[in-house]
């Protein structure tokens, strides 16, 4: 397989990410990895639910006084929108529009950075209130769960930025199409996890 072969919109395959053997393997392997990630987050969610609002007596923080919904709402909207922009980037990939894809991935990165900035602000705010990582079982479980998600956002951002830069002058090939495709799957998965975080941690935390 010649990975550097140039295609045109007329000859570009319907599923460029799954033409080569490497692409097929990446696709399967990546879904297996996402299964593993689901199990990882399940263990963190289970831990959080078990330890929610538990702390040394006399110094508890509780979810319904700690969390602020407007901030979480803005973060949710930003991440949800970034999921749409990365879908739109993949639409451009299918149509063999390289510049379109790079542009929309760059917009995805900007939205991801905005989300990350808000999360850092939020964590910083909690630490100033005295709700630090080691403060209680609840705080450790909270920071581990939401922080692991934040770490995934960082990894996803670094991944997409590197793809954009590394392939800027290369254009499309069957070599980099699977890379872009899996990166976009990863970004959607981050959003899937966030849907459960904003529901289980923040919304269910505020109702009690």
């Amino acid at each position: 397989m010649d990975f550097n072969k140039k295609y045109t919109p007329q000859t570009w395959p319907d599923h460029p990410e799954q033409v080569t053997l490497e692409g097929k393997n990446k696709f399967l392997g990546f879904w297996l990895f996402l299964g593993g990630e689901t199990v990882l987050f399940a263990s963190l969610f289970a831990t959080y639910l078990a330890l929610k609002n538990k702390g040394p007596s006399g110094m508890e923080f509780s979810t319904n006084t700690l969390f602020e919904l407007p901030l979480v709402f803005v973060m949710t909207m930003i991440l949800l929108t970034s999921s749409l922009t990365s879908v739109y980037a993949m639409y451009h990939m299918k149509n063999h529009n390289f510049r379109g894809m790079q542009t929309w991935l760059a917009i995805t990165v900007l939205l991801g950075l905005a989300f990350l900035g808000l999360e850092i602000y939020e964590f910083n705010h909690y630490v100033h209130l005295g709700f630090t990582y080691g403060q209680s079982a609840f705080s450790s479980a909270f920071f581990t769960l939401v922080g692991t998600h934040g770490l995934h956002v960082v990894v996803g951002l670094v991944w997409i930025i590197l793809l954009i830069l590394r392939n800027a002058k290369r254009g499309f090939s069957l070599y980099n199409a699977p890379k872009y495709y899996t990166a976009s799957l990863y970004w959607h998965f981050i959003d899937v996890v966030w849907v459960f975080i904003f529901t289980v941690v923040y919304l269910m935390g505020v109702v009690g």
């Binding site: 399967l28 949710t76 149509n95 269910m204």
Partner: protein, 111 residues
């Protein structure tokens, strides 16, 4: 090279057809995005409105599940063919996930 891929050049009709099909897929994705935004709004509004806990919790969990299904099937393309193994991996993980939550909660809350 002996391993060169067969390059298939589409006819103009096929090309127009596939472009239309992709547009339709993209429109479906925008629709599911609109539904996701709407479901998120309902969830936040329900909590802000302060209904009973026993009403809100099942409702927002259901809304989250619907959103995740939309995300998986439309944004992550699981509705396309050729995703059986992907679905197998994911649903096995989801089964484990439910077991984890159930076990942890029964041990800590009723243990």
């Amino acid at each position: 090279m002996s391993h060169d891929a067969q390059v298939y050049v589409r006819s103009q009709t096929e090309f127009e057809y596939i472009k239309q099909k992709r547009k339709k897929d993209m429109r479906n994705q925008v629709t599911s995005f609109a539904i996701m935004i709407f479901l998120t709004l309902i969830a936040f509004t329900a909590v802000a409105a302060g209904f009973s806990v026993y009403l809100i919790v099942p409702v927002i969990l259901l809304l989250a599940a619907v959103q995740v299904v939309l995300q998986l099937y439309y944004f992550m393309h699981m509705s396309e063919e050729n995703h059986q193994v992907a679905a197998f991996f994911l649903y096995s993980a989801v089964m484990l996930a439910f077991t984890f939550v159930l076990t942890f909660l029964t041990i800590v809350w009723w243990g």
